[in-house]
């Protein structure tokens, strides 16, 4: 990996770690999601500190151009993340629906008592 990529990844890693910690402290990000992002940030940091890891694993997998491995992992991670969000969204939609039902039933009850 070239020095400039090295530096770029290092900056990205530190930047995202900083942002995550800040968001969690501001309570803008739930701790359960922060774990996910902290893992990403940390692995980025590790890769930028010891780029040989990437080189070595790429070689093991028969990937000649190391950044490809990096991109592959990144895309894979994003896909999983998107799936996770769809899952969460479905769950939330369902809960909102149940809440709407409860509200409507309660509203009717209150109006009847008036």
């Amino acid at each position: 990996m070239s020095t400039s990529t090295h530096i770029l990844i290092a900056v990205l890693a530190l930047g995202s770690l900083f942002l995550i910690v800040r968001l969690v402290r501001l309570k803008a990000l739930k701790a359960k999601y922060s774990i996910l992002w902290l893992t990403v940030g940390t692995s980025l940091a590790v890769i930028s500190a010891v780029p040989q890891i990437l080189d070595w694993s790429a070689e093991q997998l028969g990937i000649w151009y190391q950044p490809t491995l990096f991109l592959l992992l990144a895309i894979g991670f994003l896909l999983l993340l998107a799936m996770h969000f769809s899952y969460e969204l479905s769950r939330i939609e369902n809960r909102v629906r149940i809440l709407v039902e409860e509200i409507s039933l309660l509203k009717e009850k209150i109006e009847k008592e008036d």
Partner: protein
């Protein structure tokens, strides 16, 4: 034995009063449950002028969501028989009694628009869609239905209990509901009914959306109409 009419209504202030009045005239002992599906017109106000229950949802959830709330209300009130009835006036209240009497033999009764030569006009694409649905439902349930998407149906208490929790909330809910009821081992039958022209309001179908809902329904079918759901 208490019987309730579930009337989902989305912006039906115009036709709703006559629908309620007609049911009340014929069946004064029926409890009328209007579910206002987040209407932006005076649907709720109109309904409240009558001696009936009006459940107002804070925003539009679609007909499936409205029906599910209706079933939930009926379950809480321990209603024995319930039937769903359209607010746009296309269902004929004189047919309710035949629907209800058929409940003696089955758990769920569908009022079919097509099982006789009663004239009911539908467009080309809708007709094709309905044929396809009929075919799918027949494969899935092993029973032949002539009208899988009819919104004129009656239910016994056990089905009400099921639908209060499991009623499908997306468009084409009627087809999915049929599958769910069949999967749960309920006896479903069909009787011919006559429909009227819609007295007000717009048909809620748009063709390009139909494609999307079709795909969704196909996925539901392939997935075996949802297994055990959490929550």
């Amino acid at each position: 034995m208490e019987t309730a009419a579930i009337i989902p209504a989305f912006n039906e202030a115009e036709s709703l009063p006559s629908v309620i009045r007609e049911i009340k005239e014929l069946f004064p002992d029926h409890l009328i449950v209007v579910v206002d599906d987040g209407s932006t017109d005076e649907t709720a106000d109109v309904a409240k002028k009558f001696d009936c229950v009006c459940l107002s949802m804070p925003f539009n959830l679609g007909i499936g969501g409205a029906l599910r709330l209706g079933f939930r209300y009926c379950l809480d009130r321990e209603i024995d028989y319930a039937y769903q009835f359209d607010a746009d006036g296309q269902h004929d209240p004189t047919q309710i009694s035949s629907l209800l009497s058929e409940l003696e033999n089955s758990d769920m009764v569908i009022g079919s628009r097509f099982s006789t030569d009663y004239s009911y006009e539908v467009g080309q694409s809708r007709k094709a869609a309905m044929n396809f649905l009929r075919f799918l439902v027949r494969i899935y349930t092993g029973q032949k239905f002539t009208d899988t998407s009819s919104g004129f149906r009656a239910f016994r208490k056990p089905v009400i209990r099921l639908f209060a929790k499991e009623y499908p909330v997306e468009y084409m809910d009627s087809v999915e509901a049929l599958l769910i009821a069949s999967k749960n081992g309920f006896k479903i039958s069909e009787i011919p009914v006559q429909m009227r022209e819609r007295s007000a309001g717009q048909p809620s179908n748009r063709n390009f959306r139909l494609v999307y809902y079709f795909l969704r329904l196909l996925i539901v079918l392939l997935a075996g109409t949802r297994g055990k759901k959490k929550e």
